[in-house]
Symmetry: C2
Subunit: 508 residues, 2 copies
């Protein structure tokens, strides 16, 4: 018997291949978990509030390093406005590929108020916890390099779940895929944004500026939590969002509540009365036309919605909620509707800082979530019209003497930059391929959600890049996203890496 | 002509007397204004928030020194509770006097939030201002010892008006009186309290412990502002006061407003709805029985009330108020009624700290002012009954899991120690003497107020010491008492010294 060179190479391949192919993505992650942890903790230690431009750029630089060390050429994309926080971009061309799949995550986080975090914890000095402290968890201190990683524990720190988890899972999925010799079937693009938590205010510029570079058949968004049931989840749409800041004015200076109350008008009471007028006892928004403009769900979407596991009872128990705000709809159904939420209230001080004054002003921040069909400007205008109908004169700056003289009820309203909702049809062929890839990593049925509750400016992908977009959430639902004590379950990070690797290796 | 010894002495007296008697109290103050200012600034530089026990004691020690330097033997009075902030007491016996008049002021101040003060100003580093900055005033920096004093300017700092002004005016009135050779007709007592701003929580103990020492025919309270008209003012009563702290609960942890809104109940909305239910559009309190129990005014009181100058129009202009909360009554009339005021509101964050969350809780602080006839416990109970009638389950501690499971609406209510109102009849002979003494220092008619808007625990003087009590306010009405940028007009301090000296020298 003779051995040809080609068959020798073939034999060589057969000898090598098992050792490569036998190593699954989970096995690779498990073997490398200490290194991945150590790098992630360093990433989380760089403060990432959008306004902190110096540190934001350090985050971008850190991501570039992570990409370069994985063989991905990285570059910063800016918009046309000078000084815009850059997005980090990278690209891998796959010979023979006919499709291009982009992976998006954001590296900025919500503002932090360290006083509201667990005692002794700083939002940008990540620590490990065994579980949330409210559920009997313990703070285990910082992760020490080289230490064994317990996947049941959590990493506590700003950005740990929303959305540095996305950045780290995407890059480690690519690493795991290449290091275990798996094959890519599509071209891969990477995009990491730094202004998502301030409304992606320059993403449109970046998209317009780099439209060709960002072209893809589908962008996959890695952000937001998996379904409450813990099952792997695909989300085909997001809600739009717009924030409104309200300030109701009282007297020009704070007044002694004994000497002037209740002669001087109290702005805290006026604001309370105004906010109370916005919803009835059943949680229905009373703003005229608030639920108009909503595009109804298709039959497929309606069916998927009906199959989402009902976790309301479990959630109520976990969150200590006796009954939801609206008794007539489930959480999943409610998400298909626009909402009006009070994010914050402030007037003078409470607790030990309180004093017997009539405050000079009272502030509230409203958050309007929008669904397919809503226009954010129009939705905000409906609320402004409601406020006017309650006898308020609306201004967009501090009141003048003349304003105060002329109007009994003065309110300053600032409408932040908002954006509209987006929804991708579930039965597109490329959408079905993604579904199959994710399903290949789990035995449990996926949760398919027509639209998630959260907001991302995904309409920009459709409108500017003219591409489809689907969200694949990876983090635990109880992550305290946007609030104090944000955390991520380590096991979810590992599973997220596996999910993303499956999508990167999917056939279309 | 012969000169007898006695006539020589008489002549000597005639030669000396003009230099003594010609010096009026205002002249004495004017000549000594730099020294008085310098001492007052040092006094204001000692922080005086009640909770700051170390500094509070430094204030007491400073007052003792001021008394001793004026020939008044000073002592600290404590209650039966160990560690109680002491009151400072002193006494001057006048040979042949048949009456004893006490002078009371307090040396503690309201809590401060330095961030809310004018930029660059610290509450306990007093500075001079030409006028409030809102009215075009300027900050002139700290008073430099020896510098000329402009009586039209103001001293800015915590306690400058409420109520270290009382302490300094009483002690300088006594000094001016003795240094200008004026005669006392009554025994004089001094009492300076250190816990007034936390509700005089131990004054009852101090009164019981030192009842004999504190015996007097009348106590004069030097606190609160003169009438808005600027005219000198006597007040015969005060309102009672009780604070209530409300906390409405939402989910156990902060929730992403997109993923959970409006399924998870929003405590800020619930609180707004609750507060809105407490008053109608016309400012009338809707709590059942709120206006019951009020003792009607006598004919004399009714007449005095009708003669109080109507300054509502001027006040509205100055304060930037279009129309008062209640259109059916004047400021002076409103003060004869119990009130319900929102002192502060807080839920999560507003402004640049805001994030898209459903808050876990929403807090409010209420301030109930009481009039003669009200009992503070009963008044708070009426509000609690109202809250219960709105479907809330009331607790007095953080909610348990069981509470959360059982009740859709949970509220924690803490009722602070409060006290009742007090009112002295205007036509008592001793009250008429005081009126004559104050009137002797001004050509303008006095403003006689049956009860002021503010609160002091004056019922304790009546109930424990069994003595009458009258308030003589000395500071400007626009002093930002209890709030940021507290200030006192220097001219009002000088006039206050003159007023008090006249009372000390009054005939009974």
């Amino acid at each position: 018997m003779k051995f040809s060179i080609s068959s020798t190479i073939g034999l060589l391949f057969l000898c090598l291949a098992p050792s490569l192919q036998a190593q699954t993505i989970p096995a690779y992650v498990s073997k490398n978990d200490r290194r991945i942890m150590e790098e992630y903790i360093r990433f989380l230690s760089i403060p990432n509030v959008s306004a902190d431009t110096l540190n934001i750029r350090k985050n971008a630089a850190f991501i570039q390093e992570m990409m370069v060390s994985r063989g991905i050429k990285a570059e910063l994309l800016s918009g046309t406005t000078p000084g815009v926080t850059p997005a980090v971009f990278g690209e891998i061309k796959t010979p023979g590929a006919t499709k291009t799949i982009g992976f998006y995550a954001h590296y900025d986080g919500q503002p932090v108020n360290p006083k509201q975090w667990y005692a002794g914890v700083e939002p940008f000095k990540p620590v490990l916890i065994t579980a949330p402290l409210e559920s009997g968890g313990k703070i285990m201190g910082p992760y020490k390099p080289g230490e064994a990683v317990n996947p049941d524990w959590r990493i506590l720190g700003r950005g740990s779940a929303d959305d540095k988890a996305g950045v780290m899972a995407i890059l480690n999925a690519y690493e795991a895929l290449t290091k275990t010799g798996k094959r890519l079937n599509a071209n891969i693009k990477f995009l990491f944004e730094g202004e998502e938590e301030v409304g992606s205010i320059h993403l449109n510029e970046i998209f317009r500026q780099h439209k060709t570079k960002l072209q893809a058949d589908l962008w996959i968004i890695i952000d937001a939590p998996r379904h409450v049931s813990g099952r792997k989840t695909i989300v085909y749409g997001v809600r739009g969002d717009v924030n409104m800041h309200l300030t109701v004015y009282g007297a020009k200076r704070p007044l002694h509540s004994g000497n002037y109350g209740n002669w001087a008008p109290n702005p805290a009471l006026k604001l309370a009365q105004l906010l109370a007028s916005m919803k009835d006892d059943k949680g229905q928004v009373l703003v005229k036309g608030f639920y108009d403009d909503v595009t109804p769900l298709t039959a497929t979407e309606q069916k998927a919605l009906s199959q989402i596991p009902d976790q309301d009872a479990q959630l109520k128990k976990e969150l200590g909620i006796h009954s939801p705000e609206r008794l007539d709809q489930s959480l999943a159904e409610g998400i298909m509707q626009p909402t009006l939420n009070i994010n914050g209230l402030q007037s003078a001080n409470v607790g030990s800082m309180a004093s017997n004054v009539i405050p000079t002003k009272a502030e509230a921040v409203l958050d309007l979530r929008l669904v397919k069909g809503n226009d954010y400007r129009k939705q905000a205008e409906k609320v402004i019209a409601h406020i006017k109908s309650r006898g308020f004169h609306v201004i967009n700056r501090e009141p003048t003497e003349e304003d105060r003289r002329q109007y009994p009820n003065l309110i300053k309203i600032t409408v932040e930059h908002g954006y509209n909702a987006q929804r991708t049809p579930m039965d597109l062929p490329i959408a079905r391929s993604i579904q199959a890839a994710v399903q290949s990593t789990t035995k449990e049925p996926l949760v398919l959600i027509p639209s998630m509750g959260g907001s991302l400016p995904l309409y920009l992908f459709e409108e500017i890049l003219e591409t489809k977009v689907i969200t694949v959430p990876i983090v635990n639902y109880d992550n305290n996203q946007h609030a104090e004590n944000e955390n991520v379950r380590i096991q979810y990070l590992w599973e997220g890496i596996e999910t993303i690797a499956a999508i990167m290796g999917a056939r279309f």
